[in-house]
Symmetry: C3
Subunit: 414 residues, 3 copies
């Protein structure tokens, strides 16, 4: 490994890190756009704190829980608190087969870690207590995410079993989606959502912010998937750019057609979530698929979105931003797709993909349930009905997203 | 060519690809900001679908229409449907003189392709039928753009004739601008825009989103122009960053001064379009100009903008976002500027630039006219007057950009 | 130095340049979000023109004032107007020890230059005359910023004295902060802010735009600090990514805790400014600190923010966006922190840091005072009370940020 190639590899990984960081802005914009204006400060506050908490907990323990480096085939390992960089540039070059330095490894993986909690943030929007959410996010990112992450990426038992998840359809997205689902069940729906007369739509307050979020997430995904090559390998990174983009594109088209048929209209929120579904769906096998296979995977993910949104609504599981449809359903689909399409396709692989993703789902769900249930019984999960009615911005933050709103409303109410 | 240099080159091309992707968000934000709030979902929907359709059509046929690789000096060529990557890393390195892989080539060019249709999207805003637009965009991006693109970048007859267009003042921007102009003529102006009492201004609904879009477009242009070097060549890419930025800067200053004189005020939309004009203007010769020449080209582009906006308005050609002024007028100017300034300046080159850009303009205009006229006579181009009055968000999408809008308006109307 | 390593280095510096460019969008978004909607066009206009003016003045004189290349240990130097690139690729490689080309050097430093004026833009918002501001910004960016910048980065007397400022806690942020403070003093507070009955909060009109701005600034800071390594050196750039991110994270946490205690609520604007405080605080020593030290520096910066905001308000120094707290206070803190933590810690270094930052502060403050005082006595600094009441968008730009605002207000006033 020469210096120049090491430098090129490491530079790409850092650029990818910055792109994954932008995903946090993407989630913040998307979730802000999909909630009512009276809960917008709350969403922005949560997403600002999640990235801060996520990086710090990953520094304290998460990184060494996820990559203990001493536990091949195991269920659990821990290499100690804090970081300890190997001495010297030579060690750094040997460290990751010339891919990147120890610092790069930490910051790239740290940016990933917080995304799982961000997924939960949107699903519980408009009704969960802020402190309860932040406590849950801290525990979830600091402990649960790294443990299941280690099972595959930390050379744990699922890695030994042949389970494949290139960039995290299961390890990041389904993990976040399972926690979101458990939280939704424990929280209950927003007041007035499911009435005797049917389901009341509660439209998001800003589609421009929702669309901004989705485009930024697509941009960030170039780093999320492209960086998961763990080097700047030209053929692999460029293939991943192609499969990721084509899957996002057919995700949009799949959701466009399906929602046209189901709802007889051109539903922007379905197309936006279709793009995200295509991105989540390709993530497990972005390096294994041909462009044609990527387009099929994305299209199916896009078809899944409207059906899944209706499905969860029928079950009265209230998810304001569609996080469970995008991250859980399409995360499961993408994980299974590795056994159906591409270089690793085969019934044995499909079976491994199935029990791998279920094992992680079971662990994550139990973990999330225990923590959330404990919080429910102590601090409480949900704001009062009155606070929910007034909006969390006023009840939790004593401010409005749009400063002049109060005044305008006063004028309007005359 | 060694591995490390190939890796550095390819990495830059992929980063540039991600930057060009962001231009789609830039266009979406800019156009959303410049239309009325009742047509915002429609613009966002169009821009979300264009990138999806653009990538898929470019995969199916566009890439092989534009780079047939077998037709030097010709007018038309086609290398077959789909993609076929050369086998092996060695082939990849030989493929583009060490610049990038086959996958990188496809995805970088694919990101470019859809921008031409996005330009049309803004010009026809607030009155064109969604399905008619999407059909036109599909045909235009899939067939027309690659054919004229091949004339120069695919080693076609204009390339043989010495026509120069570094990154697409003509091949992307004027092409999009011609199609926009034809569409505007066939569509007619928005109802109520040109009245017996003069021109009624219809202000955009969000200047913050318009400004956001312009800054994101400038950012994306670093990849659009910088990536058009087709390698990470240090001197050329850095020169292109300098000329591109200085031209954008003097475009703002030119539009600032000119609009001050013409309109006696500090017009933000003129300055924003001046920046874009400077960017479009430098695009044909960004690699040929000194910084001083780049500043002159950008300044003149900035001066063109306010005059052009007034000119089109006088002709009652209604362009809600100024796309024809920015992309067509400054695209023509930038193409001609290659014959006036920089390394290739000369009367012979100026002549070649003129007939090259006109040849492409004639082809594009006829193509756009035929397709749009056929659509007009079958599906129709324009929504009903009642739908236009209510806004396309409600009539085409059954939703509002700002979910609580309807409710607020109800309160306000008491 | 081989070609491949030079290419990788230069590519990173150009990517960092594009990231620093995005900081201008970050500032524009943040400041737009924190002002009232009636002054939003004005803020966007100023920030669009500042980047244009900044690049052009830096081309004309700033670059050669800041890096005269002939004045080691001096107070002032100037290498002539315009740019003059060394001939040939070999010269370029020798130029910056293989880090980047001459063009890269110019454009990276040019992107930095305008940020100092942008900091002032927010502090004087909602009451300063547009032309007076643009004149001040031109002189400040073109002359004052490069002179003090030369003292350290241009190998001037402070560099010789051992003063350390890695990426500009003093040279960029405190410099902008001092100018902002002087401007605030000369301008006076917004009408109605400080009343006999106490301080009237004037909330910003869009927290989503404010949050968008902060996330984009964090993203840009990867280029601001990461690019200040002046090469793609793997260990240093990746360390800088880690220290920068962790300091931003603990800045958020510090401001979260402190504002909770002080104000008994979860104040989003404090957390957002806490992130920025952490970023400004780590900037002087981002390459010298361990992750743990970076977290302490960021946390303290976050604690400083709410106290500083209260402090300036008590002094009736009206700063609508908190620019003096973020850039001046945390810039001073970050500069001093180099003498307290990290590789250079020591009482001698602390003393050098103190007199270095004060020397620059004194020069900048006097320069800003002289220029602003002269403008005040000639053109005037402040708009009329009536114009301030109506908003600068109407009085200076004859337009509204939200085009339909006027109409909606008319409806609402019935």
């Amino acid at each position: 490994m020469n210096d120049a190639l090491f430098t090129a590899n490491n530079t790409w990984m850092l650029v990818a890190t910055a792109m994954v960081f932008i995903m946090h802005l993407g989630f913040a914009s998307l979730e802000a756009g999909f909630v009512q204006s009276k809960n917008t400060v709350n969403i922005l506050f949560k997403n600002s704190m999640i990235i801060a908490i996520g990086l710090v907990t990953y520094y304290i323990a998460g990184f060494n829980l996820m990559y203990p480096g001493m536990n091949e085939g195991g269920f659990f390992g821990f290499a100690g608190f804090g970081l300890s960089v190997p001495e010297g540039a030579a060690a750094a070059i040997e460290y990751a087969d010339g891919g990147y330095t120890y610092w790069t490894d930490f910051i790239f993986q740290g940016m990933f870690a917080a995304t799982a909690a961000t997924i939960v943030s949107g699903a519980v929007a408009e009704r969960m207590k802020l402190n309860s959410f932040l406590l849950f996010a801290t525990i979830f990112v600091g402990i649960s995410y790294p443990i299941t992450g280690m099972w595959k990426w930390g050379a744990g038992w699922l890695d030994a079993a042949g389970f494949y998840d290139f960039a995290g359809s299961t390890l990041v997205h389904a993990v976040g989606g399972w926690a979101a689902l458990i939280a939704i069940v424990l929280l209950g729906p927003r007041n007035g959502k499911y009435t005797a007369n049917g389901i009341k739509p509660i439209p998001g307050h800003s589609m421009p912010f929702a669309a901004l979020g989705v485009f930024l997430l697509w941009f960030g995904w170039f780093g999320f998937n492209g960086g998961s090559v763990l080097s700047a390998d030209p053929m692999l990174v460029s293939l991943v750019f192609v499969t990721t983009s084509l899957s996002a594109a057919t995700g949009a088209i799949g959701a466009f057609i399906t929602s046209n048929i189901l709802f007889k209209t051109h539903d922007l929120s379905m197309v936006l979530n279709g793009i995200l579904g295509g991105l989540v769906g390709i993530t497990a096998g972005a390096d294994l698929m041909s462009p044609g296979e990527a387009m099929i995977i994305g299209f199916i993910a896009g078809v899944i979105i409207p059906f899944s949104v209706v499905f969860f609504d029928k079950l009265k599981l209230d998810d304001p931003v569609g996080a469970t449809s995008v991250h859980l359903m399409c995360g499961l689909w993408g994980t299974l797709a590795v056994g159906i399409f591409g270089e690793k396709a085969g019934i044995g692989q499909l079976w491994t993909q199935l029990y791998g993703t279920l094992a992680i789902g079971v662990f994550t769900s139990i973990f999330a349930f225990v923590v959330l249930f404990a919080i429910k019984k102590t601090m409480g999960l949900r704001v009062s009905a009155e606070a929910e009615e007034r909006g969390l911005d006023v009840s939790e933050h004593d401010m409005r997203a749009y400063g002049e709103q109060q005044e305008l409303e006063r004028i309007a109410s005359y």
